[in-house]
């Protein structure tokens, strides 16, 4: 049985003439990892701020764990954790002191709770270190610990993986998976497409509107209709120009050093596609079947 924890209903926020969030509707079920994806300035952070009652919706409503996010803010915040991109840590305090301070804010006096949280985020060995000396990856873990110390049912993470290296990012995701397995529902915003692939549900946002929200595999099934080929060629841009001129080609993009192509097989089946590409003086052409990606979905929805 699934339990619905978050409901956004026509949720809207205006700043003067500017519509930051424009009538969005979605639900989050218990146990999900929801990835909320979109470029800077598209309304991701404004959405989270409304879900946490930090901003009043101009229209519509948000309910979190059955409480109205704006009018029952205390109830919501007692049960939700929030880690923003620019988290605040006290640099001159130790890891333990930072965590204990924030635990105090939530009136948590149980020392065990603090120790457990340190263990959970892998900072037990470093609890006596001064925060200023921690690397970006460790600071991030401490901030996560602070968001978790009051055992929230839902954890909101706002672009917490921007700017850290791939190892730290991967380790952070290992922690997220672990939390999700432990029953915490996760709502995470990111502009890394590859991270969205790890989520159980993904929302794609642009210019304040939620273009789609579903499981990654279902998003691909719904929005990518056609064959996908990856084309290697000596001259990449010549290849992309040629591919774009072939009838039946729906979408092209660069995928690393390959041209990633979405084709309507009714107009242009493989043999035809291959023949057209190879008869045009392009050198080093090699065609392999490609994998659909969320980037394809996003581009299809926004172009």
């Amino acid at each position: 049985m699934t339990e619905t924890l978050v409901v956004a209903k026509d949720l809207t926020r205006r700043f003067g003439d500017f519509i930051a969030v424009d009538h969005i509707n979605f639900e989050v079920q218990a146990g999900e990892i929801v990835g909320y994806l979109g470029p800077n300035g598209c309304g991701k952070t404004t959405t989270i701020r409304m879900l946490l009652g930090l901003l009043e919706p101009s229209e519509g409503s948000a309910s979190v764990l059955g409480y109205d996010a704006f009018h029952q803010t205390e109830e919501v915040r007692a049960r939700c954790g929030y880690m923003s991109q620019k988290f605040a840590l006290y640099d001159e305090l130790t890891v333990l002191e930072n965590l204990a301070f924030y635990a105090g804010v939530y009136s948590i006096k149980d020392k065990n709770r603090i120790t457990q949280t340190l263990e959970l985020v892998g900072l037990k060995e470093r609890q006596k270190e001064i925060t200023a000396g921690l690397s970006a990856g460790w600071r991030q873990r401490l901030a996560l610990g602070i968001a978790l110390v009051h055992h929230p049912r839902i954890l909101f993470l706002d672009e917490t993986t921007s700017g850290v290296d791939p190892v730290a990012r991967r380790e952070f995701w290992d922690l997220i998976y672990g939390l999700a397995q432990g029953g915490v529902t996760i709502f995470i915003t990111t502009h890394y497409m590859d991270e969205a692939e790890y989520c159980s549900k993904v929302g794609l946002m642009k210019d304040g509107r939620l273009l789609a929200m579903d499981q990654p595999t279902r998003l691909k099934k719904t929005y990518i209709k056609g064959d996908i080929w990856d084309v290697a060629a000596e001259n990449l841009m010549a290849a992309i120009d040629k591919v774009n001129s072939i009838p039946g080609v729906l979408q092209t993009s660069l995928l690393g050093d390959l041209v990633h192509v979405l084709v309507d097989p009714k107009i242009c089946p493989r043999h035809k596609f291959e023949r057209q590409l190879k008869t045009n003086g392009l050198r080093g052409v090699k065609i392999t079947p490609g994998e659909p990606s969320l980037e394809d979905v996003f581009m299809g929805l926004t172009r």
Binding site: A136, G163, V167, M299
Partner: protein, 311 residues
Amino acid sequence: MNLIETSGLVKRFNDLTAVDGVSLNVPQGEIFGLVGSDGAGKTTTLRLLVGALRPDEGDVQICGHDILTQTDQAREKIGYLSQRFSLYEDLTVLENIRFFAEVRGLELKDWKPRCMELLSFVGLQNFTERKAGQLSGGMKQKLGLAAALVSRPQVLLLDEPTTGVDPATRQDFWQLIIRIVGNEGMAVVITTPYMDEAARCNRLGFMRSGRIIAEGSPTQLRGRLEGRILEVQTTSPIRLVESMKDFPGVEDARAFGDKLHLRVQPGKSDRVLKNLKREHCKEVIRPIPATLEDVFISLTQNSDKEGAPHD
């Protein structure tokens, strides 16, 4: 011919060595990517290249001119798009690009055709009269690129031009860069935190703690782990990841959604694959080509073992 040459660049800020012995040589027609996290030294390196910062050691040559002693000649050759470049929001697109052209000393008869050529190249030809403040993020970025190109630079330096922009704009931006390098034969240095973009560069350097820890074409770098990555498809990646880490012959295991990537010891791939298949018959296990991210992770772990500072 190398349009950018540096040797042993070092830049210290008090106790912190932000750039620690970087040597870069970029020939005409090449896109060189500097890839790394925040604080790895990418932006500081670019600022040394453009002469905005003085190195503590080493030197920078742009088209044969020393950036510190022949600054004007060197700068004339450079187009630079910084991470927070500033447009005049209350000026129109055309007025903005004109401003950059005049600062660069272009005369009216030269700048007008060049500006129009660039604006149509980046797809802004229909927006010349629009105020820059009313452009979308992606359009601002394209205007910034046009402004950086207005003086026909031979060296183009781009500092994270695609961070935080939407995938469609990122695609457009990269296609523009690749095209213009092909047309005008520049040398380009671009910084990015995205591994998928790194693969679009002709050559790249992985940067960490101020140093370039590996350098090569994407193919060369991926080749370092050839035959050593196995993909495991599973319904419970988290449960499996710990036991996989301890599996004989496996160096590292990481979850990527519903898949695990295993890195196996050199030459052990076939044996590990066979043993894994015997013990985990429910999962689909297959060798896959290494990604640049796999390579970066393996390099980082090796340098950590040698005692380099974390992050």
